[in-house]
Symmetry: C2
Subunit: 593 residues, 2 copies
Amino acid sequence: MTYQAPLKDIRFALNELAELPAVCSLPGYEDASVELVDAILDEGARFAEEVLAPINKQGDKGARLDGETVTAAPGFKNAWQQYVDAGWVGLRAPYEFGGQGLPALVAIAAEEMWCSANLAFSLAPLLTLGAIEALNHHASDELKALYLPKMASGEWTGTMNLTEPQAGSDLAQVRTRAVPQDDGSYRISGQKIFITWGEHDLAENIVHLVLARLPDAPAGVKGISLFVVPKFLPGADGTPGARNDLRCVSLEHKLGIHGSPTCVMSFGDQGGAAGYLVGEANKGLGYMFTMMNHARLGVGVEGMAVSERAYQQAVAYARERVQSRAVGSPDAAGVAIIKHPDVRRMLMTMKAQIEAQRALAFVAAAALDRAARHPHPQEKARNQALVNFLIPIVKGWNTEQANEITSLALQVHGGMGYIEETGVAQYYRDARITAIYEGTTGIQALDLIGRKTAAEEGATARALLAEVQATADKLATAGFASLSANLKSAAADAERCVAFILESFAAAPQRAAAGSVPFLKLMGILLGGWQLGRAALIARERMGEEDADVDFLHAKQVTARFFGEHLLPQVSGLAAAILHGADSVLELDDGQF
Amino acid sequence: MTYQAPLKDIRFALNELAELPAVCSLPGYEDASVELVDAILDEGARFAEEVLAPINKQGDKGARLDGETVTAAPGFKNAWQQYVDAGWVGLRAPYEFGGQGLPALVAIAAEEMWCSANLAFSLAPLLTLGAIEALNHHASDELKALYLPKMASGEWTGTMNLTEPQAGSDLAQVRTRAVPQDDGSYRISGQKIFITWGEHDLAENIVHLVLARLPDAPAGVKGISLFVVPKFLPGADGTPGARNDLRCVSLEHKLGIHGSPTCVMSFGDQGGAAGYLVGEANKGLGYMFTMMNHARLGVGVEGMAVSERAYQQAVAYARERVQSRAVGSPDAAGVAIIKHPDVRRMLMTMKAQIEAQRALAFVAAAALDRAARHPHPQEKARNQALVNFLIPIVKGWNTEQANEITSLALQVHGGMGYIEETGVAQYYRDARITAIYEGTTGIQALDLIGRKTAAEEGATARALLAEVQATADKLATAGFASLSANLKSAAADAERCVAFILESFAAAPQRAAAGSVPFLKLMGILLGGWQLGRAALIARERMGEEDADVDFLHAKQVTARFFGEHLLPQVSGLAAAILHGADSVLELDDGQF
């Protein structure tokens, strides 16, 4: 099954819902015209469809480790070279180091297509961009000059070395050591796990960003520093020189994303890998937070993107597979299963959530751009708060639902879905990591109720609820009675939950935390429904225009209604669990499970 | 992670909720004393824990096909021999052919343990028992005498050959041919797919039950006959003789249950496999329905059983993995993650659903026994209707939730859950088939709203709702106010949905079908909550008794409350989708997806 970039819906979400033209007019983005973006999307779609999608399945066979050498899955090295030649790595890399410096909103649309086409491949550039962002914000000019041009071009890739066996989500436990040397460099030693694209043969050098502790560092998160640790030490002219003292000691056998080598990295087996401090000592964890928003938004997009790919395959199969008579029909002849109501229900459940998730992710990306570039400090701050609030929701909700959506896609295939050759099981396996890495859903939800809700006394949450109300009012006027009513009812439930969290977070934080994931999902459904409500209003307006794409605009309105009738009603159940379910979560003794 | 049979909860569900003593007193089950069942459970637990569970992981490496020979995964052949020697196959096989003829209720409790310990292995005896049941009900005395003793002992295994490439759920499309021979046998030719344990080296013979068409058979489901087609043709004395003209031409590469060889079987490449008609010609599909209830109940138990295994591993990991400080604690020291509220929420979500599913499945099994053996025709009929109504719910709900529960177990492990060596990913993969085979959830749901609800004008549905109400009343009196209120509210929603289905099924069947899966899930949650409500009442009573297992009985009550606060509130959202969501499911043109 080939992938076809959903350009109509991407453009609709980009232009109409995330307001690309306004983003392009922000200071510093003047080069990003709507026409340029259009061309980028067309070209990106072609690349995703023709280069990345066809090697996704063979990528499932995985990378290979021989000695210390990792060979990427067949076709990946060639695809990477084409990706680099086309300049895709640089899309949102800084202009001064050879990138195009385009808005996050544009980059995220392209990234959706890479992730749909080939999630395992797309992790290489995504990690590289995260490393670029960290260095660009915090490294010295010398380090930037040495590393960023090579990374923005894609000649070198980047990695993040955070996790250690005893330190998963809890980076306070990091033990990797960094010992200062006379020349200003450091000797790094320790073991890191779960290092995505930690070793491979795609690029001539790999730039590891590594969290480690100085000998005199304070305990806990305030004693962690960030280092650049390149695979090959670059000479002053940027040519890779001596091999550094680091290596991949094994590859993980994972449930999915087999095309992406997940490495156990060992630093300093021969006395210490040469590393270079980024910014100031003991501030490494804060630096990680700099790029966290884009990284977590990116993973939310990954979840949605794999869902989109799985949805496309399910639709194609449902159109072609003939099985059983139509429900209620006297005609015994089999029909394509897309005619069966439950198959339609499954497809609509996928479609409605994917479109809501795309819209919400793009709106969050636009806020990221406004937070970075808006000339008015108040708007800048408002957008930063909006980004902060939306990111854990986009990350958590999109990825949790990716598990459900890819499962539905598999289900549409019946027994064929369980056979690996069919391909849809790969999406189910690949998607499963997205609710885990870059902070599990539980971590996102704690972030949401704490730093993003309680810490600002619910200001952004309530501002959003007011916007949802306003959209619901417009929907009522425009004739979307049920969607309007469902949105209002869900917003009222959400309001009660915000009040509960504000009240309990200080007084009984365990009770607030007990409902944190249901709250994250509730907000995802509510805000997704809000975006589809906005979309329905725009679609209805556009229907009357000349050259209106009537099929697309009609489907958009029906999809919004479906979301209102099938997804938004889930909010009341989540609210009940949040408001009344904390005690039963917390009551059992550990031994009673 | 080792498996520990949850004998306390199995016994509680068996004795208290499914009323084993009453089942044992039914005519024909006189030998099945509560003491005997106790001994069987202890011995079965030991076998599951010590023989089957330890080879589950190596089973994931899969069976091997060389030429036409399938070699089972390492350890499976030896385990099968032990299983046969211990007489486990015969537990519910007919007494007159060497089985023990025990109630379905007892068998299902043992089957839960086999499926938890090793789902792939357990499919071999489950399929064999299905074949025994079909033959016992419909075959001639000669065929029974020849095949059943060998099958009940486990010397020979059985299979079901239904599906063909063009005929998945729609058996009307079966094309395999059966040509009558002068000696009264038939020549069978055709290809069958998805044949579980279709070829292997565990047993000396394999007895295939095959659906095929006679040359003069009417089209559609009324022209399908059932045949016995053995791998080796048995002589009159039962010794396997000449090799029959059938072979395994390939093994499927599946997402999970790798230890169970799923075969493409080819019959008649050399002119026709010898087959023997079971019962009358053209009645094959009806014969399949005979064993469908037990088979579907069994798959519902499979889903719950894999969930139980995954839950146990998640609890063990959560107790041992130390990560991050306690929520709200000033102490920076990490705690076991079972202390974190969201981890507890996940564990409770698993535990509550598993216990509800076990109870509901056992109650259905008891009804199966009563329907078969109750001396009073009215009770017999009432129980048959109850079985018919409950089976699609147990099959559909348990297996859909197995996807969620095993996913939660994986999530509790964080990044480690995504690594295959951890083992929990195998449960996630294995569980995924259960919502597909033996009729997808969509098929179950159509059966539920049609034959099981509309066809009897909602009689059983409403009788069950009345029982739920009665339990809710008792709960209110006993001090379970929230659980009582949640049950009543859910039952009222269910009542509205039953009315909607009765109304729409005839007038607008597509609209009824659009809500069929939500209705199935709604009934699963409601009836699961009902069973836990019954359990809570019993547990509260028992708390005062001498030697009361206070931990277990306390946990049971908390678990019921959790179910009421977290699961039952989902019913209102499902009801909204059923009552108001049909149009948006059906509205799009096929091309608008």
